[in-house]
Symmetry: C2
Subunit: 455 residues, 2 copies
């Protein structure tokens, strides 16, 4: 019996363009609103935070946007990324389904995040930026921006959500190894951070707060820009290289997915694998079922409201229409830190409203159980975030078993868990619990959503 089937592309087959799903949307995205005027904003409004190339990508409706050669050059360090058939997992589940997974843990940062960190650093360097600020949850994004910024000669300052800063001290060491500076957020280095700490000195932090701090510093200096690791259209677009490669690899495997599964926090790795397949469907090809898996403790797609909201807690960012738990919502400190965000990417939210994707939520402990089964069958230890996608794929495979259907399931294994072994340690010690949010806090956060005049 073959235990491992790997589908590997040649370097010459690495995509030369990213895929922009805005070209194929049956209905355009709702406009982005200015935080002060609540009126639609133009590219110039974003110029203090981002270089113009990225702003143009944010609003572009071109289907293909060329990947610059210096970006492709760095991508070659780990791309094209492998796609595997999960033979041993299939056998352990006794499913007639074929399970495939794309593996993004081969990057130097151990996750999919460098796919967008590299182009963001590149466009900033070309535009003359000297310093990038950003936020990070689990540390995957901060690590990736530290890696990419360093390669293009940029200074990088990372605000890390305090609960992750404390839970994952090793992550900070990686960022520092790449030459970045890392601060726990809320910090005393920003006006907003100091205000949060004054109200609650032991605040565990949140991505929303860390974004406010990073944005505040970026807005102060011309040579400093802000970089976001998820949520924004251009970020999701950079990740589509995952799905574009996967389409070629599914051809090599002589099949096509019936179901595509990804985990969602801000939405970027999910979009990366899903959008190219949705695009094929929108252009008349086969449309697979697309399943977004989110943590039950931070369920923006399944429990949030589709409404205009701020991207940050300090209300410095523009407003976008998205599935949100409310910008004042602080998710509990579960271990998939990369999924602890109050909102969902506007593009992912929009596709959900258009019924092009489904969403499901699983709890922490059942996701770790799925991750351990995956490690013991396939040999790779997934990141806690990726465990949600593993769980989602396993549930689809078990449904196929019940229904006697030999479907093809594809999921994105967005990162390895080598930095996250304390969480596994707790799981084995029986100390891992299903963190839940406070229902009353959620209700209050949703009640506090900004009221926006109808378009």
């Amino acid at each position: 019996m073959t235990a491992v089937t790997k589908y590997l592309l040649e370097e010459s087959q690495m995509p030369r363009s990213w895929y922009n799903i805005q070209a194929d949307l049956p209905k355009a995205l709702p406009p982005v609103l200015h935080p002060g005027t609540l009126q639609p904003i133009g590219p110039a409004d974003l110029a203090p935070l981002f270089p113009m190339e990225l702003i143009l990508q944010e609003v572009s409706t071109e289907r293909e946007i060329e990947i610059p050669e210096p970006v492709r050059d760095i991508y070659r360090l780990w791309r094209p990324a492998p796609l595997y058939r999960a033979h041993r997992l299939e056998k352990a589940l006794g499913t007639p389904a074929k399970i495939f997974y794309k593996y993004e843990g081969v990057s130097p940062a151990g996750s999919h995040k460098p796919n967008t960190a590299v182009p963001q650093a590149f466009y900033n360097a070309v535009a003359g930026t000297k310093r990038l600020t950003t936020e990070t949850g689990a540390g995957q994004w901060g690590t990736s921006l530290a890696f990419a910024g360093n390669l293009f000669g940029l200074e990088v300052l990372v605000f890390q959500v305090r609960v992750s800063f404390d839970q994952k001290p090793y992550r900070r060491a990686v960022m520092e190894t790449y030459g970045a500076r890392c601060l726990p957020s809320p910090s005393t280095e920003t006006v907003y951070g100091r205000a949060v700490l004054e109200a609650r000195p032991d605040h565990p932090g949140s991505l929303g707060i860390a974004i406010s701090e990073a944005v505040e510093l970026a807005a102060q200096r011309d040579d400093t820009k802000y970089a976001l690791g998820s949520v924004l259209n251009h970020v999701l677009m950079h990740q589509t290289i995952i799905g574009l490669e996967s389409i070629q690899q599914m051809e090599m495997a002589d099949t096509y997915p019936d179901v595509v599964v990804g985990c969602t926090g801000g939405g970027s790795n999910f979009a990366g694998i899903a959008f190219p397949f949705i695009g094929q469907g929108l252009r008349g090809g086969k449309m697979p079922r697309i399943v977004a898996v989110e943590p039950a403790a931070c369920p923006s797609l399944t429990r949030g409201k589709y409404a205009y909201d701020f991207g940050d807690t300090g209300h410095m960012t523009p407003l976008t229409k998205m599935h949100t738990l409310g910008s004042s919502f602080t998710p509990p400190g579960f271990h998939a830190g990369g999924l602890r965000y109050h909102g969902m990417a506007p593009l992912v939210s929009h596709l959900k409203e258009l019924d092009l994707i489904e969403a499901v939520a699983y709890t922490q402990v059942e996701c770790f159980a799925a991750g351990v089964l995956f490690a013991r069958t396939e040999g790779i230890v997934p990141a806690p975030e990726a465990n949600h996608a593993v769980k989602g794929a396993i549930e689809e495979a078990l449904r196929c078993k019940r229904e006697g259907r030999a479907e093809t399931i594809l999921f994105n294994l967005c990162g390895h868990g080598h930095f996250d072994m304390t969480a596994y340690q707790k799981y084995f010690a029986g100390e891992l619990t299903d963190e839940t949010y406070d229902e009353q806090e959620l209700a209050m956060a949703l009640a506090g959503l900004p009221s926006v005049p109808a378009a």
Copy 2:
């Protein structure tokens, strides 16, 4: 300017045989001696510890030994492994040398160790073994055997050197994720471990002690065998897939190494990259300079004695002729735990005596400085062990600069540092020191070497 050049083989180019350097040695290895009789041993003497296939590989003089298909099948999960040109490191050093590195951190365990863990688990499973015992230092080997044993349905029990068990708790979680059981050594589960603890309750452990414990348990039960991660001939041979792939990749790069560099603890990753090149030289091809880099705090090749010694501290293993610091020597607790072994592989030692390889020792802090430079130029964070190879390659490149020579340097980057970030953290905090051994302890350990009658 191209920043990344990667040389990647097709799966069909993955070697079908390992290379056995014993076929090409100008002088045979000295015999292995029985610990009781001090007389040369035969294959049957090793049967309580290893399956016969591995014992036959240990003494074989066949040049090529076929890699079984189930082993190649698992290898495909991460092999063939990439080889890179280190353009940015060259530029940072201002050297005319070309620097290439083979990267073994792409394996699921993050190091080269699965190259031998997989065949060892396979041959044991075929022979009916139910349980494997082993020792581990940093945890790379224990992780790899846990990974491989699990894939072939074997129970795995790992004795981890206590100082590493304490320094790297995450490693234990990986072993447990793969289903293995991990104990700090010296432990209370063996006669020998209890004796060591009685003499010194806070003993930091050593590979030599952990080997004694693992061997003691394996010898007790017919269904239990012992697996070693380095030192033995068959282990080094399994690693030659590294160098065999590298030879093909150097051809793709249209060059051939003038110098091959690897770090040495027990000698397995060094042998893996070096032996195939030495073999080409011994068979009439170009013979590169071969440089073994060891930690100054555990310098078996540069400060040890070439003599018969035990492989373990409890004197349960056969005696081999090797460079040794004495089996009673306890190396200080520096962070490259994988290099903390009192002896050197007999084959590596033999080649040193034949003047086919050179050896050099560097201290911990200068090796971390080299690793940080590598991470910031090439984007990959090396394991502390691998930092020694990086340091060795950098020193060769700087020599080339001084001498104005455009040599080709190849080194083995045997693992990533994602599990070892506490060590980097200490380095940045200025808390990392150059651990040194006690000269008097070394002198005593050397004086205590067993006296063996001349052959």
